[in-house]
C-alpha cells in the first residue's frame, strides 16, 4: 500500500436505512418459518406430508439466506446460474440414494 492512500480522507457513508430494514425483515421471515416448523413438528403426525412441508420450508429459508444474505440475487446472471445449475445434481443424488435405501429396506426387513 502506498503512503498516498493512507493519508486519504475516508468518507463514511450514512447507514442505508432501507437496506438494513430489509435485512431485518428477512431475519424476521427466517425466524417465523422456523417457529412454524416447530408448530408442525408437534402437531402433525410423521409421514410424507410432514416431510414435504419441512423440505419446502427449508428450501424457502435457503432461498432467503442465499438470495438476500449472500446477495446472490443481486449478482450477474452468469454467476447466479453458475451456482444454481450444479445444485440440481444434488436433487438427482437425493432421489437416487433414497430410492436405493427404500429398496434395501424391503430386502432387509420385509422377509421376516
Amino acid at each position: 500500500m502506498s503512503h498516498h492512500s493512507e493519508e486519504q480522507e475516508i468518507t463514511v457513508l450514512p447507514p442505508d436505512k432501507a437496506k438494513i430494514k430489509q435485512l431485518w425483515t428477512v431475519a424476521g421471515i427466517l425466524g417465523l418459518i422456523t417457529a412454524f416448523e416447530f408448530l408442525i413438528a408437534f402437531t402433525m403426525h410423521h409421514g410424507t406430508g410432514k416431510t414435504i412441508i419441512f423440505v419446502v420450508m427449508t428450501i424457502v429459508k435457503a432461498g432467503y439466506i442465499v438470495g438476500e444474505f449472500m446477495h446472490l440475487r443481486y449478482e450477474v446472471k452468469v454467476l447466479f446460474w453458475s451456482i444454481m445449475v450444479p445444485i440440481t445434481f444434488i436433487a438427482w443424488m437425493l432421489v437416487a440414494f433414497l430410492y436405493e435405501g427404500f429398496q434395501l429396506s424391503d430386502i432387509n426387513f420385509l422377509r421376516f
Binding site: 500500500m1 492512500s5 493512507e6 486519504q8 475516508i10 468518507t11 463514511v12 457513508l13 450514512p14 447507514p15 442505508d16 437496506k19 438494513i20 435485512l23 431485518w24 428477512v26 431475519a27 427466517l30 425466524g31 422456523t34 416448523e37 416447530f38 413438528a41 408437534f42 410423521h46 410432514k50 416431510t51 419441512f54 423440505v55 420450508m57 427449508t58 429459508k61 435457503a62 439466506i65 442465499v66 438476500e68 444474505f69 449472500m70 449478482e75 450477474v76 452468469v78 454467476l79 453458475s82 451456482i83 450444479p86 445444485i87 445434481f89 444434488i90 443424488m93 437425493l94 440414494f97 433414497l98 436405493e100 435405501g101 427404500f102 434395501l104 429396506s105 432387509n108 426387513f109
Partner: protein, 255 residues
C-alpha cells in the same frame, strides 16, 4: 489487492467477456465456487444419512410409548429433548431450536457488518463483527453441551441384546459413541457425530476467520486498502455455515 476492474487500462479486453464477466472479484468468485464444492460435501453426508435411514426400519407404534431400540430408527425429537439447567424435563427440540436461532441471528449481524463495510464505516464493522463472533462462540458452546449430553446418555439405560461368542447377552447401554448407541442403530450415532461435527468444525473455522477479519478491521488494514471486501468474502462463508445448519436442522432433527 485492488478490484480486478481497476488494474487494467480502460478498453483493455483481457478475456472475451471483458475483464470480469461475472462482475465479481477473483477472491469473491473463488469463495462462491469453494462454497459450491462444500455444498456437495455436505449434501453427500446428508444424502447418505437419508440413504441409511431409509434402509432401516422406521418406528411404527404410537409416539408417546416410543422406546429406544436397535430394531428401528429413533424419532429425533425423542432423542434431543434435554435443555441445560432443566434436568429431567422433556423439552423436545427446544435446545436445538435455540441453537438455530443463535446461528440465524449471527448471520444477520454478519450481513450488517458487510453493509457497514460497503459504507467504509469501521466502527460499525467492528461492532457487528464482535456480535457475529459472539454468536459463533455461543453456538459452539451449545453444541459442546449437546454432544456431551448425547455421549453421556439418559438416566435409564437401554437394554441391548448382543450375540457374543455364540450366545445372546443383554447389556445396559448409556449414551452413544462410535461403538455403542443407546438411542437406536449404531449408524444414527455415527451420523450425528459426523454431520454435526463436520458442521461444527465449519463454525469453528468461521469463528477463527471472523476474528481475523475483526483484527484486521481494528488495526485499520481494510481502511488503508480502501475497501472491506474481505468482510464480504468471509461473510459468504459464514452465511453458508448458517445455510448448512438450516438443512441439518430439518433433515437430522425435524424429519
Amino acid at each position: 489487492m485492488a478490484h480486478a476492474t481497476a488494474t487494467t487500462a480502460p478498453g483493455q479486453n483481457l478475456w472475451n467477456g471483458g475483464v470480469s464477466p461475472m462482475g465479481a472479484s477473483y477472491g469473491k468468485l473463488m469463495m462462491w465456487f469453494f462454497l459450491l464444492s462444500d455444498a456437495f460435501t455436505f449434501s453427500g453426508l446428508l444424502v447418505t444419512y437419508g440413504f441409511v435411514r431409509s434402509a432401516h426400519q422406521s418406528y411404527q407404534g404410537a409416539a408417546d410409548v416410543f422406546k429406544f431400540s436397535h430394531d428401528y430408527w429413533p424419532i429425533p425429537e425423542k432423542v434431543f429433548e434435554a435443555v441445560p439447567f432443566l434436568h429431567g424435563i422433556s423439552l423436545p427440540l427446544v435446545f436445538v431450536g435455540i441453537m438455530t436461532f443463535i446461528l440465524i441471528m449471527s448471520s444477520v449481524t454478519m450481513v450488517l457488518a458487510v453493509e457497514a463495510g460497503h459504507r467504509m464505516d469501521r466502527k460499525a464493522v467492528e461492532k457487528w463483527m464482535l456480535w457475529t463472533i459472539l454468536g459463533g462462540i455461543t453456538f459452539l458452546s451449545c453444541q459442546a453441551w449437546e454432544w456431551s449430553h448425547f455421549i453421556v446418555g439418559t438416566e435409564t439405560p437401554t437394554l441391548i441384546k448382543d450375540f457374543v461368542k455364540g450366545e445372546w447377552i443383554t447389556r445396559e447401554v448409556f449414551g452413544a459413541n462410535l461403538h455403542v448407541n443407546q438411542y437406536g442403530p449404531q449408524d444414527f450415532a455415527d451420523f450425528f457425530f459426523f454431520i454435526t461435527g463436520f458442521h461444527g468444525f465449519h463454525v469453528f473455522s468461521g469463528v477463527l476467520l471472523n476474528f481475523l477479519i475483526y483484527y484486521n478491521t481494528v488495526t485499520g488494514v481494510y481502511q488503508r486498502r480502501g475497501h472491506y471486501e474481505m468482510v464480504e468474502k468471509v461473510g459468504l462463508y459464514w452465511h453458508f455455515v448458517d445455510l448448512v445448519w438450516v438443512f441439518v436442522f430439518t433433515f437430522f432433527y425435524l424429519v
